[in-house]
């Protein structure tokens, strides 16, 4: 289902019961402990859930950008340190692999029978997570700078390159382009996006065998290198914070960044009205004649620990749904591309919605995709620096992945 269908859906949805007037949320007793990433949308959710705290209900939240590194250990304990973990496509996999999260079907039937199918992350027939927001990388463009060279918003990466060439020739900006290419996870993600945009598959069908060392992989790397010709030479250190700062300082004309940064980029802080007023959020472009945008769709959702009592699980589910009730969503409308009722898609959501509507694929939820992502992030930097060939870089990725996958038991 796409975001536009979602907004119609939420528009029609009937608000049932979740009025928020009951400070106790109707929870008799229990422990609610949330582990999540740390950004404004999740802070709003946790604050909403914290309203459920009472003499018999404790609500705590650990919000940290390092949540992925502690979630497995924290939920392995019995009873688990946290009753809920907020995860995304990729970070739910280790929890699933270890069986640390419980199916939510019973809780949904009891406490949120009207939850749309859209929000249910169903794995092998069981709902394992409730997705509440979406994210994707897409293009941010400066309409005024593009107009200077007579260009309109690009729909393909080939057009992007063409515009960047014109911008450089016109001398408007020194380094008109940026994407999140910091060596490591970010660089790996850019490869995955561009590779899926070329129509590639990361793995041989139905197995953990890598399938990236091919023509599509080379085309992907060549496109990444061609784009970063137009980036600041520091590009291998660019994470989301760096690219956002560059955009807000007005040094970029076209950037490929996370949709979740849209709200912060379009607000009136750290930038000037000339820059924010001319910033458009548009879909991720297609590449190499492909039909689908070169991007992956991500969801954020909550899971509930397996190693806790049913009472705590019920309390946690209710508190989190309370933290995601329409009033909270409406009050924090621009903090994220919400998948919950109460959300009115605004300007910051335009890019993600356009990317999703154009049919971008979700980031794969495979048990071994994390190993591939790590190998890509570690092994592609030398190619991006121009120190090795695309063929060699892909062979390195393949070898690094195979070594890791053997060690983890995915390959023999």
């Amino acid at each position: 289902m796409t975001i536009s269908k979602l907004s119609t859906f939420t528009g029609l949805a009937v608000i049932l019961g979740a009025s928020g007037a009951f400070a106790d949320c109707g929870i008799a007793s229990g422990r609610v402990a949330i582990l999540s990433n740390d950004f404004p949308a999740l802070q709003a959710m946790a604050a909403g859930a914290a309203e459920c705290a009472s003499a018999t209900v404790s609500v705590t939240a650990n919000q940290t950008t390092e949540h992925r590194d502690i979630q497995v250990a924290a939920l392995t304990a019995n009873p688990a340190e946290y009753t809920a973990a907020v995860v995304a496509n990729s970070s739910i996999v280790p929890l699933m692999n270890e069986g640390l999260i419980r199916p939510l079907d019973d809780l949904i039937a009891q406490y949120a029978p009207d939850l749309p199918q859209l929000n249910k992350i169903t794995i092998d027939g069981k709902v394992m997570a409730v997705a509440f927001m979406a994210n994707a990388q897409h293009l941010f463009v400066r309409d005024d700078l593009l107009a200077q060279v007579g260009a309109s918003a690009p729909a393909t990466y080939e057009e992007v390159l063409d515009i960047l060439g014109k911008l450089r020739a016109a001398g408007a900006v020194d380094h008109p382009f940026a994407m999140n290419t910091a060596a490591g996870w970010n660089l790996g993600e850019e490869f995955v996006n561009m590779y899926l945009g070329h129509g590639g598959e990361l793995f041989a069908a139905g197995s953990a065998a890598p399938a990236i060392n091919n023509e599509t992989g080379i085309a992907t790397l060549e496109m990444l290198a061609a784009l970063n010709e137009y980036a600041n030479p520091d590009f291998l250190t660019f994470d989301s914070n760096a690219t956002q700062a560059l955009w807000e300082s007005g040094e970029l004309a076209i950037a490929y960044m996370w949709g979740s940064r849209g709200g912060a980029i379009l607000d009136d802080q750290n930038s000037t009205p000339e820059i924010t007023g001319n910033t458009s959020l548009i879909a991720a472009p297609t590449v190499g004649g492909g039909a689908l945008p070169a991007s992956t769709l991500w969801w954020d959702g909550f899971t509930i620990a397996a190693n806790i009592s049913d009472e705590d699980a019920a309390a946690t589910f209710q508190a989190l749904m309370h933290g995601l009730r329409p009033e909270v969503i409406t009050a924090n409308n621009n903090a994220a591309v919400w998948l919950m009722e109460g959300y009115t898609p605004g300007a910051p959501a335009a890019g993600v919605a356009a990317t999703a509507n154009a049919g971008a694929r979700p980031y794969p939820m495979l048990p071994y995709v994390g190993l591939m992502h790590t190998a890509l992030g570690n092994e592609l930097a030398q190619f991006m620096q121009g120190q090795e060939s695309a063929e060699q870089a892909l062979a390195d990725v393949e070898a690094a992945y195979i070594a890791a996958a053997r060690e983890q038991g995915f390959l023999q």
């Binding site: 289902m1 979602l6 992925r68 590194d69 496509n89 970070s91 996999v93 280790p94 699933m96 692999n97 859209l118 929000n119 249910k120 992350i121 169903t122 794995i123 092998d124 027939g125 997705a131 979406a134 910091a182 060596a183 490591g184 197995s207 600041n232 030479p233 520091d234 590009f235 291998l236 250190t237 769709l297 969801w299 998948l339 999703a356 694929r361 979700p362 794969p364 939820m365 495979l366 048990p367 994390g370 190993l371 992502h373 790590t374 570690n378 930097a381 030398q382 991006m384 620096q385 060699q392 390195d396 690094a400 195979i402 070594a403 890791a404 053997r406 060690e407 983890q408 038991g409 995915f410």
Partner: protein
Amino acid sequence: MPHRTFLWFILPSLTAMILFIALPIVSVVVQSLFVEHEQVLVTVENCGPFGCTEETRIDREATAALREAQPLGRFNGLGTYFNRSHLATAELSAAWQESETIGAFLGQVMNLPFYKALVFTLSFTFIVTPLVLVLGLAIALGVNGLPRLLRGPTIFFSLLPMIVTPLIGSLVLFWMIDAQGVIGATLQRVFDDPNLSLKASPVLTWVTLFVYGVWHSAPFAFIVFYAGLQTVPAETLEAAMIDGATRWQRIRYVVIPHLMPLAVFITLMQLMDNFRVFEPIVGFQAQASATSLSYLIYSHLRGDVQQFGSAAATSVLTIIGVAILLTPVLIRTWRDFNRKRV
């Protein structure tokens, strides 16, 4: 001291050492010999906000049964040590046979993660350590020559780089050397090259990390040498002066021999510290150009999948590396000790 008393005397520290140093090392060694169980995969249908897809998933019951039978995982012997992420013996011999020249072979070797990290770690250790010694001694001699009133404030400011947390210190410098930072922009202007970037070129990144390493560690050498300078015997110095020794000769023949044991101590500490260089790589986001052994361990353990076997093997190799590095210094100390006893 009778043996019995001695035993009781060291028992608390011995217990702590066994519990917190020896046992963890044993556990790491054991862990490095095992790899994860074969994962039993099944294909299931996953559905989410963006539609349904057929994806593979780990069959948890089957995997749990395997794990129950062998909790440590599959025994892999030294397999992990020799795979591509570590010593990469197969890749090395293939590279040796394929490469025409030594240069091509070395290029292939530097393409392997372990050797790439090892080369940077060793370069860092052997470039930073001597510079720290020399710079520390120079600062100590300089401060010692200052009027008493100025010494206190000077010592305080000289110590600042060591007081700053390594990660914070490197982050501060990271932003200063940014193309828009005060150092980065000045360098671009001085060399008249708008594309000059300390973060982009591997060579300049290495140089930046070395400079940071010296900046961070020199105060340690300085304060140790400065303390040592206070104990240089005044009579010997006066005698040297009467013999007509210049300032340089007094330093070379009186002060430096007197400070030698301290130099050995600082070398020992610096070799160990620099061999486990880590924070500046994170702080400078330098992993594209420079990785160290400690960084490899960190990267094995981070992210969605933790590779405990790989991390353990790299840890054991690091311990072996430290042992090899320290052996010459320890042998020297042991000889000195024996000579003094006689």
